[in-house]
Amino acid sequence: MAMRLPLPGSQPTPLRDDDFERDLHVEHQLLNMGPSHPATHGTVKFLIELDGENIVDLDIQVGYLHRGFEKECESGTWYQAIPYTDRLNYNSAILANLGYVLAVEKLLGIEPPERCQWLRTMGGELSRMGDHLTRCGAACLELAAMTPFLYGIEARELTWDLQEMLCGARVTSNYIRIGGVKHDLHPSFPQKCRDGIAKIRALLRDFDDVVTGNRIFVDRLRGTGVISKEECLRYAVTGPIARSAGIPLDLRKQEPYLVYDQLDFDIPVGEVGDNYDRYLVCVEEMHQSLRIIEQCLAKLEKLGPGPVNTLDPRVRWPAKGRVFNRMEELIQQFKSVTEGPRVPAGEAYHAIESANGELGFYVVSDGTAVPVKVRCRPPSFINLPPMRKMLKGALLADLIPTFDFINMVGGECDR
């Protein structure tokens, strides 16, 4: 039985006695959907006001995965926040690591070595692949197509295998460190990665064959969940949703960070701003990510072995051989471990293009080893409210693909 809560501005129209032409559904129905619904991959509750099958109004209730990310960050060292960022968007953990670390490095004024920049870029793009594959695959599943979901998940497994080679973990990577990355590449990585890319391309082709022209899929997506350019700007919507509406906004091009200014890739842009455009944008972005990964591999091989971590003593531990034999390095190691790095006082905001849009971190330091504030600007949270606008007057069934392609990730939305 639906729980009745008043929704703002929604009164059922009273029926006049002589109005025989009217539909029988005179009373609006309130429907609770979620917080744990099999057709939404995300923990969120919709309180839907229905007129028959049409959505009159919608209240989106989030917060079910709130676990105090910012509060936790304010009680540990700057390093100890990195594993928490893994758990923000668990589909693309490396990108979340990267956003946080780049903001902290902005305060510290650290420029990591060139090889590290290319490794970070490649890790981030692998992560983005995983996110887009989950989005497109799970959307198919929730529209009752099992096979393409399995193609998507198989491809995501391949990206996870590569991430595992990169940092030892499949999902919660904890790969990016302040001033560097955890490891350099394993010597067999380039070959394995090229094999993986070939397999992913084959799977994407299969996916494309089954889905892109599929009548059922296209009918459910085309013309649903439409958002205009102007609405995107007013609601601060970024990422594939803004690009599907025709805004060529991608921070990798607009404000190039890492080595994106040296890479050759395109930004796909849609026209209509509906779910089908979002799907096409995501698929094309996956092909672009594969291109970027290939360029990174070639560059890393050309650069040859080299340091992947900064030598800045504020954030790096000294070499173990020196720690065991010299007093100064022993003290430095002790201080680094027990206190953690001290970050200069000040505030900085750094935004990266994550798979869902602008992922920004606003960090404030008072010069000690514990952050005053670590604010995550979560694209999932900010892209979600316009969904109410997208779905007003639409069919209840349109909610599923619209929510799928907004790709709200509970961990990031609720923090």
Partner: protein, 162 residues
């Protein structure tokens, strides 16, 4: 006060010389701290002034400087897609009257972000159409991101109201 070459800061100092309290551009982020009473007009100028065109209110958050007066600092990040530039606007409100004008009338994106700041910091937004808690539940007592809210404090979850 200096404008550090930022067109947004230059305009602000031109139009609101007495309401801008401080500016800086540390780490390359153009920042202005403004009087809370004139936040709405300042934001309207930043949005509508040709040449600035801040169409996007990217982020709204707050920082609790416990022990300082005024205690809370609201932090707004604006971004212009057209001009590809950013500015950060800050404004301080006191512990006794933690209230500031809502920006929902200028940018609907402020809606959820202001609800989050109300939820976690207990700062009220004048003119917000629907200022409910968003991440926590209605029955939650206190505002957990305030520095004087103990991290270890637990509150039992209560069932839904009827």
């Amino acid at each position: 006060m200096e404008n550090f070459g930022s067109p947004a800061l230059r305009r602000l100092l031109e139009f609101f010389p007495s309401q801008v309290e401080a500016t800086h551009a540390n780490f390359g982020d153009a920042t202005a701290r403004v009087a809370p009473g004139s936040l709405l007009e300042i934001m309207r100028l930043l949005r509508d002034e040709p040449g600035l065109d801040f169409e996007m209110l990217t982020d709204v958050t707050a920082v609790d400087y416990l022990g300082e007066e005024p205690r809370f600092e609201l932090v707004y990040h604006l971004y212009s897609v057209k001009r590809n530039h950013r500015v950060r606007i800050k404004s301080r409100v006191s512990e006794q009257a933690p209230e500031i004008a809502s920006l929902v009338s200028l940018w609907p994106s402020a809606d959820w972000m202001e609800r989050e700041v109300w939820d976690l910091y207990g700062i009220r937004f004048r003119g917000h159409p629907d200022l409910r808690r968003i991440l926590l539940y209605e029955e939650f007592e206190g505002h957990p991101l305030r520095k004087d809210y103990p991290k270890e404090k637990r509150q039992p979850l209560v069932g839904p109201r009827n």
